[in-house]
Symmetry: D2
Subunit: 402 residues, 4 copies
């Protein structure tokens, strides 16, 4: 079986890594070059500026690390905080859980707000906790913007308002790995101090380039760690080394050239489509997916529309049906890669990613495939119903804004 070729392409609908546009693929096909040459900064210097636009920032500082998003989480925490520092974080899915776990393993004292999976960060509870923190022991608030595991988007603007309402000086760290470049993100307006992105989602690249947009306030917090005995040990992810080299277009260690060239092209893709159009497209494709789910008579993991994510929809399998079987069958029989349920929702949920470089017919193919796998697994679904609902919505709602 393994030796047999599977015809046609794989339909990739996990919520990352996402499909790489052909032109980005081409752009990454580069021979090695001297990353200390006089020509090199003409590639890199514009990258630092252009990448900021995707974060909705003009005032931030971009750092690019050869790393996955997990490394950038660590970069945010270890540059700005000291051992034993208190941080506030909401947990409502696998990725918010893992970030909290990281903070704890790094030696931070995490005040965890447990939220029901299928919901997200609650600004009012954050405000309350911060108000209660009279001595400002909480140094940072950590929020996962888009919880990939449950298909839930939290309202970062509201979190910012909550922090401000509490008059609290805590830093605001936002994991935007599966939102930045796909959902509206306003690092400056929301005063996000560390906004964290990976290359393999909205940036439409392979994994391997971690991106962080850091505010002036966070840079200052990092400087304050210098020389402290209880600073969190780090060198690779240290912003200081980057700060010394980046302004002239260089890096403290050898950068991954294909990803830098790819980033340049991916940004060009986003800007040519227009970020507003990109966000609109994700909203339309997200809603189309939800229309299909409703037509199937199924429910999303997201508890109410306010939590709906426009980059990934987590769908609850009906009682008694193993979601893992739906996923495996879709993959083996129809060459369709769906996202699995993780941790608490393992076996209960399957996920359709609709993030990155995608259009109507790709999504409809995936919806058709998910439907076929549901039916094959005994779920009572009217054949064609998902595509009917989604396509009717898509006919009325163009991907590009007028």
């Amino acid at each position: 079986m393994a030796a047999t070729r599977r015809p046609g392409r794989n339909h990739l609908f996990v919520p990352g890594p996402t499909n790489i546009p052909d032109r980005v693929m081409r752009a990454m096909m580069v021979q090695s070059e001297d990353h200390r040459s006089v020509d090199f900064p003409s590639l890199t210097k514009p990258l630092f500026e252009d990448t900021k636009k995707v974060f909705g920032s003009t005032e931030g500082t971009i750092f690019l690390f050869p790393a996955s998003g997990t490394g950038i989480w660590e970069s945010a925490l270890s540059n700005t905080l000291a051992r034993g520092d208190k941080v506030l974080a909401a947990r409502f899915g696998q990725f918010s859980h893992l970030w909290i776990d990281m903070a704890q393993r790094l030696g931070l004292d995490v005040v965890v707000q447990e939220e029901e999976w299928g919901t997200g960060a609650k600004p009012e509870k954050i405000e309350e906790a911060l108000r209660a923190d009279k001595n400002h022991e909480i140094k940072a608030v950590m929020v996962v913007h888009n919880e990939t595991a449950t298909g839930v988007t939290s309202n970062i603007g509201a979190v910012r308002k909550a922090i401000d309402a509490a008059g609290h000086p805590a830093l605001l760290f936002v994991d935007g790995v599966s939102s930045i470049g796909s959902l509206p993100f306003k690092a400056d307006e929301w005063k996000v101090d560390c906004a964290i992105a990976g290359s393999q989602k909205g940036l439409m690249l392979p994994a391997g380039l971690g991106v962080i947009c850091v505010s002036q306030k966070a840079l200052k917090a990092a400087e304050g760690q210098s020389g402290r005995n209880d600073r969190l040990a780090r060198v690779y992810f240290d912003w200081e080394d980057q700060k010394k080299q980046n302004p002239t277009g260089y890096f403290p260690y050898t950068p991954p050239l294909p990803l830098l060239y790819g980033l340049r092209e991916a940004l060009a893709c986003l800007f040519e489509e227009g970020l507003e159009n990109v966000y609109h497209r994700h909203a339309v494709l997200g809603e189309a997916t939800r229309q299909a789910v409703a037509a199937w008579g199924l429910k999303t993991c997201a508890k109410s529309p306010e939590w709906n994510s426009d980059t990934v929809t987590a769908i609850l399998a009906p009682e008694g049906v193993d979601a893992a079987k739906i996923i495996k069958h879709a993959y083996v029989r129809y060459n369709l890669a769906l996202g699995a349920g993780l941790s608490q929702v393992a076996g209960k949920v399957f996920r359709i990613g609709h993030v990155g470089d995608l259009n109507e017919l790709s999504l409809l193919g995936a919806i058709a495939g998910a439907e076929m796998s549901l039916i094959d697994n005994g779920v009572k679904v009217t054949p064609g119903s998902g595509v009917a609902a989604a396509s009717s919505y898509l006919r009325e709602n163009p991907l590009a804004k007028a």
Copy 2:
């Protein structure tokens, strides 16, 4: 508008050129090399053998020309025939028409059997014509195996039987451009003297490599032209030059290296899937497409099931609806490339190609897109009906044989 980037991939459902598998794309990414080197034959010599399998031949001789299929048509005619020679050909679509036109322009005397578009070659009429040709003035019978313009497949085995029944020595030339590598083809069994293929259909490559499988009888006919005053002038497409060089692995002029490397990989793809599975898959995808057409309440150009092509379905637009608008709208709005109606059927027909490297969900995406374009153009079609019918069929009929 032109500058705006269109997100996601183009859904290519013209009946060729077809989607190139990623691994074939990779294989073609080759630097130039010396095509006279001692290493070169290790690439080329197996190609001549392996390519034969796709033609269903062990006894034929393969020639590879840097050319499109049109050039190979000319190669077949100009190597074996002389000015004024009589040939018999059926016309039932744009490609059978063009081949006849070529024969006439080359100075051949074509006996044309006009068949209704939507049908194909009629073995009984061919037999009749050959029986009537007592003096054996007809030197060759030309048949288009799969008429891409109308989605019609002729029965080459029956044509061979007709020729044999008439006891006629005419050569049999078959245009298999849109069938070879996708539909069962048996050059040896059917005693096809020139079987013609292009690279950009079932062989899943870009256009630019013309392939012909030539029988011993045709080679002899070509040799018979040598020195004749009325031979059809040719050098580029001359088999003689190839015959001198090919056996040692070389070519009379610089070959297109990427296509040779691509051919090697494309053949590997076909053989790994298994030619029987490849044929079965095309049959299943073809039938699924026809199920969708029926669910839409539309008719195919093919007049009856016996003529159905499993590589392309030509669909009649309802009275009063311009098929060209359906096609253009699908392209502009949904990034779906459908085939246009040509010549007699221009504006009346749109075509869904289902040839080459393809699987269920890709096809269902295209069916969804065609349906959306139909509805957007005012055709009364139940949303989701095409996908429902096709997907139900596909669920019951796996792409690979058991």
Copy 3:
């Protein structure tokens, strides 16, 4: 041995196919697309205009065929001439020989001027022959601009003057396969009626795209063939079909997409460097090569400096030394592909191609390799002498014009 990997890259110094620049390689990495789409002409229409610049033409018409240069030779002859037409051609190497052979096989009556190999076309003899042709029976003069087999460049401007001096209306056909895009070429100024190029030399692409630049006079000659009984049979290479489709950006049959995208990028490369710089660079690299040859104490096949080609240098092996061994050893031991001697000069000559995308250090590596193979084969050469001479010249003569 065959299974063992050879480290490092192959050093390709045959006079074509030539090294493909990385960016051209990237540009060719394209999925299939509908070559009948509304978008397609935005790729193709500028190609017809831009390609003319490389021919030194504004008044000509470009045709692009999926074919090698050999096909374009045939295209020139078969569109403009009739069976039995008289043409005048000089023979002084393998490629001028092959073109004459083709003309004869097509049924033309070739008046051959035999010239010593190592020299080229003699304008005075051409003038004489044309003056003697009082009845203007000679319909065309065929000249190979750059005879790749001997490293000889003929003076096309002088040939044009000779034709004009004779007051003769013959068409002028020039094979520029190994000159166009590398040596100065002035189709308009020299009134070249058919200028023939291939993709795999100065255009820095794989083989597979034949290019011809046709004058108004030649187009008229082609039209004059229409309907004639003695016209040379052709369809694939017929200009008429191209003329009907090209102006709107389309082709009569499926074009080789990667080569069209590659051509666009290759032209961009040439224009960015500047054609004058490209020509200058070839002149400098050609002279550097000849300096090395002189330092080795060897002689070029070109009999005197006026015949020197700046795209390829054919070098005479010393008496008693088999040039084929020098070539084979260079390939097997040093991964260096040199050009072989052909026909008359087989075993006597080895060739260093210096055409296409090339710079000083690549050439010096090849010179070093040729020198090593010479020494290994017992030729008395001072180690390093070739590189010393060539590099001294190159230090004094920058590749780009001031």
Copy 4:
């Protein structure tokens, strides 16, 4: 000037990143895929085994991080040591300096043995220091195998003997970034506890994949850190997370797919050539380079032959000549990228990297280019002398072992 295209390829002779073989380039051209699929382990599981061979290990454990070599330095230190732990390290160049600097910044207590730049680690001094450390406070010995900045290779086998002679239990950490895959490396025989490699040197890939081979003893040391209050904070580079996932073929976070596919192909390249041949080739090319340096009358940074590196040669510019000018001129005028002198030797040294996928003629081109830049900068060098010396050596010494 910047807009002008530079013809030909860049000659990359920095000691990393190195030239990527074409087939590795092809292998990396992969679309995204689900890294949690059932197919994925068939790619990854063999990687863990095959990569060990390059380290000369069968008993070690491989971890693959999306990171540069700097990250892997940190991975070694932070997994096995605790804050304030004492380590012993020799400093004799920029990279040994940076690693020591990292250790200090991580909070380790580094006993530094300063060695003259141009020499390396001194086993006898290491033995002495360890003997003196009666209480076994030194937890690890850190050695840079190949100091890229000065072109110096230390003798790791001798270091191991020194540690054993002292009867000391310290771990042995070796930076093999610019040696592994190019110079003989015997992790098992030398009992190296952490052997550190990057993807962009001997592994012939772009930067972005850090590789470490960890001994059982080091794994045990890492486990011993668990739960300790003074453990070095880390999550991204934690071995524990990898150990949980790797055995089934998965990773704790999204891996960089192109680099994994590239690694598979790069290993295939190394094994097809044969590791012994790879090492031999580097030795031959290294010696050829040194022959050229001697012929120029220049000296290497390496103080005596025992320190010579076979992956990079650092060459002292003559008194009064700015090495930076030689490098810049080589780059700007000849498109040759040489390595710069760093820190102590900035402006005094230029470096020729001869590491990775390389053969004779590429190297000779670079030697020619370096020589031209020397002469252009006023250094008295006999033209051709470097190539003469190197090529004479190379003619006598084939790259592959008999």
